[in-house]
């Protein structure tokens, strides 16, 4: 069965003055059509880097990428810059973490959106710029599209907002504009990089609700990166939990929340303040140094259940059931070989 996006054995290393940073190690992620997938992890675990590698925007000079990223049968890692233009914004879209910083500060919402729609797929845009810009029919069409999309994302006074500059917008409004811009190309896959982290809790809820309604309306897949398990629970069907560049547990959201298995997942759940008022407990230690990651399981130094074998060997994935896989020696795998 072909997946919409299939990341296979992805390895991303970076060159640095101190040596090679092994940031992403052997990551496998599958996203089906019309599926919302969450990628959970903390700062520095490599999740944002994975998103950037899907879009092909990692710095070419310092990054070393191995593996495959297969989107609708095409390996994105082999594409040239030119070919990539057919994918960015059209097949695969992106919404960023800091909405206000991601809009051009010197153009109004209308101007940015219009230029995006007019020139998205045009090659040699700089030659055709004035021709396209002055084409009245196309302009009117474009304005209609813009107004429709802005209404779609729940912006109350579209006429006012269109003429505003980004510094006049609030975080929530800016994020809605960005979502509209991302979806205007009718992508099949939306990459969301912690889009609600910088927002207030009430706005966060509104954006999540908005995404949910847009997903059911337009049927696109989402790869949602976040460190907030609560948000992931509200939005995703399937989650991957990532630690220090490796996937440690994955499966359907229901399964994982009902029956979390990996010690890191337990640690995360315990560390979140809950409305029940139960005590929170932090995870000992800190994320490993990517220059010299621990040889066996990367979570070993912080794991309260660590065994000797965890120090030496990397655990492989154990199938718990159809919807649940975990990579930990607690559940087997040590007898192999």
């Amino acid at each position: 069965m072909e997946y919409l996006l299939s990341i296979k054995n992805l390895k991303i290393y970076f060159n640095s003055p101190q040596g090679i940073l092994k940031v992403v190690e052997n990551v496998n992620i599958d996203i089906d059509y019309k599926e919302v997938v969450g990628l959970i992890g903390e700062t520095g675990c490599g999740k944002s880097i994975i998103l950037k590698s899907i879009l092909g925007i990692l710095p070419k000079t310092t990054s070393i990428i191995n593996g495959e990223i297969i989107y609708k049968g095409v390996n994105l890692l082999n594409l040239s810059e030119k070919d990539f233009y057919k994918y960015r914004g059209i097949e695969i879209s992106y919404i960023p973490q800091h909405p206000l910083e991601s809009l051009f500060p010197v153009f109004t919402v209308e101007e940015q959106f219009r230029d995006l729609i007019l020139f998205r797929n045009v090659s040699n845009a700089y030659r055709k710029y004035y021709i396209i810009k002055n084409n009245k029919n196309k302009l009117n069409e474009t304005y209609k599209i813009i107004i429709d999309w802005l209404k779609n994302v729940g912006i109350p006074n579209v006429d006012v907002v269109m003429k505003q500059y980004p510094f006049e917008l609030s975080g929530g409004l800016a994020q809605r504009v960005l979502i509209a811009m991302a979806l205007s190309g009718n992508p099949s896959l939306l990459l969301a990089d912690e889009p609600t982290t910088a927002l207030d809790v009430t706005i966060q809820k509104q954006i999540i609700d908005l995404l949910n309604s847009l997903i059911s309306k337009y049927n696109f897949s989402v790869l949602f990166v976040t460190h907030n398990l609560g948000i992931a629970r509200m939005l995703t069907k399937k989650i991957y939990i990532m630690y220090a560049g490796k996937i440690v547990e994955y499966g359907s959201t229901d399964e994982i929340f009902k029956n979390p298995l990996h010690p890191y997942t337990w640690g995360l759940l315990k560390a979140i303040p809950k409305l029940t008022g139960e005590a929170i407990k932090s995870i000992e230690g800190s994320i490993p140094n990517y220059l010299t990651p621990p040889p066996g399981c990367r979570f070993y130094p912080r794991c309260p259940y660590a065994m000797d074998i965890c120090k030496i060997k990397e655990p492989s994935f154990i199938k718990v059931n159809e919807n649940h896989y975990v990579s930990c020696f607690l559940y087997g795998g040590e007898k192999n070989e």
């Binding site: 409004l173 207030d200 303040p273 809950k274 008022g277 932090s282």
Partner: protein
């Protein structure tokens, strides 16, 4: 693996302890003068008539969205913003617009949300921590180093490796711990925590919170916790003040607020929490739909400032600012809905 329980004292706090900080009808207005020739002055009412007490050793939470005025209240207490009217009593003494900075620094301190911006990135840990000691001439050189090392060990940053590190090389959690040590050196009585964990990861958050509770007990501290995370508030706070556009919406004791939230804004905040477990859903007693965004201070609505977003808004809400109504000893709410029942 130790499991520590942090019991939260409720009524006992109020009865047994004295009032550490009393804020009385605090108003902080910023004047904006616009116009080229005829300067029109108008006021941004960042904090509009707020009164509350803080008891010794309690954790008092101020919650609300960004722009509600939480940080303004905090910084007015510290004397950074000029108070337009009202009084602030610290242990009986009126500290409104207090001139003696150094004295106040020994009593009240402030922990910033983002440790990357609150610590000078070009300095070494040692320099940062020596600053309060030098400013207040607390110890001589030898003692100072020892004391700093003790504190660093307390926050689990081994002094031998951390003293000479540059701030720019530390992680968020480490920086926040250094910031905490910096203000502990002054042995303050009251610490204002401004979203202490908002810019940190989940696992790091828990560590910092554990640390904060640890030192609260150890050094006999009182906290004002500013946040918009109600789950955190449930876990930590004794009493909670809900602010919106500079006005009190509701002020109640912890259990009381979660068992019986009255103000629609409070209920809206509760409804927005992304819960992690199904169990927590039972703790959200009421729900309303989350709509709208907080207005700018330049466009404060008339009457009850929350009325544009309130699903229960009545005619009177648009015109009249509601009074603060006492529901019981531990619960006050500012809303027309409850005027006639109590």
């Amino acid at each position: 693996m130790k499991i520590t329980m942090y019991p939260v004292f409720f009524m006992e706090v109020k009865k047994m302890n004295e009032i550490l900080l009393k804020v009385d009808k605090l108003k902080v207005y910023f004047t904006i003068s616009s116009g080229m020739f005829i300067k029109q002055k108008y006021f941004l009412k960042a904090v509009d008539d707020i009164s509350f007490n803080i008891y010794k050793n309690e954790i008092f939470a101020i919650v609300g969205e960004s722009g509600s005025g939480k940080t303004t209240v905090a910084k007015s207490i510290l004397g950074i913003y000029k108070v337009t009217s009202g009084n602030i009593f610290l242990e009986g003494e009126n500290i409104v617009n207090f001139k003696n900075r150094k004295l106040l620094a020994r009593k009240i301190q402030y922990l910033y949300q983002d440790p990357s911006s609150s610590l000078d990135p070009r300095k070494k840990v040692l320099d940062i921590l020596m600053e309060p000691i030098l400013v207040h001439k607390l110890y001589n050189k030898v003692d100072a180093k020892k004391i700093i090392e003790n504190y660093l060990e307390l926050v689990k940053l081994p002094p031998s490796s951390y003293l000479n590190k540059y701030i720019i090389n530390l992680s968020g959690g480490e920086k926040q711990r250094i910031a905490i040590v910096r203000l502990l050196l002054l042995k303050p009585k009251l610490i204002i925590l401004d979203e202490p964990t908002a810019s940190l990861d989940v696992s790091v958050q828990a560590k910092i919170l554990e640390l904060l509770l640890d030192i609260k007990n150890k050094y006999d501290l009182t906290y004002i916790l500013i946040t918009h995370d109600l789950s955190l508030v449930k876990n930590l706070a004794n009493r909670i003040l809900v602010l919106y556009l500079g006005k009190i919406m509701e002020i109640a004791e912890n259990n009381e607020l979660f068992l019986n939230p009255l103000h629609p804004y409070t209920i809206m905040l509760l409804s927005s929490i992304p819960v992690v477990t199904d169990e927590e859903l039972k703790y959200i007693k009421k729900r309303i739909e989350t709509i709208g965004e907080i207005q700018q201070l330049t466009q404060v609505p008339s009457g009850c400032v929350f009325h544009p977003r309130c699903p229960y808004a009545m005619e009177i809400c648009k015109n009249e600012d509601p009074p603060l109504i006492k529901i019981n000893e531990n619960h006050f709410v500012k809303c027309h809905l409850f005027k006639n029942n109590f």
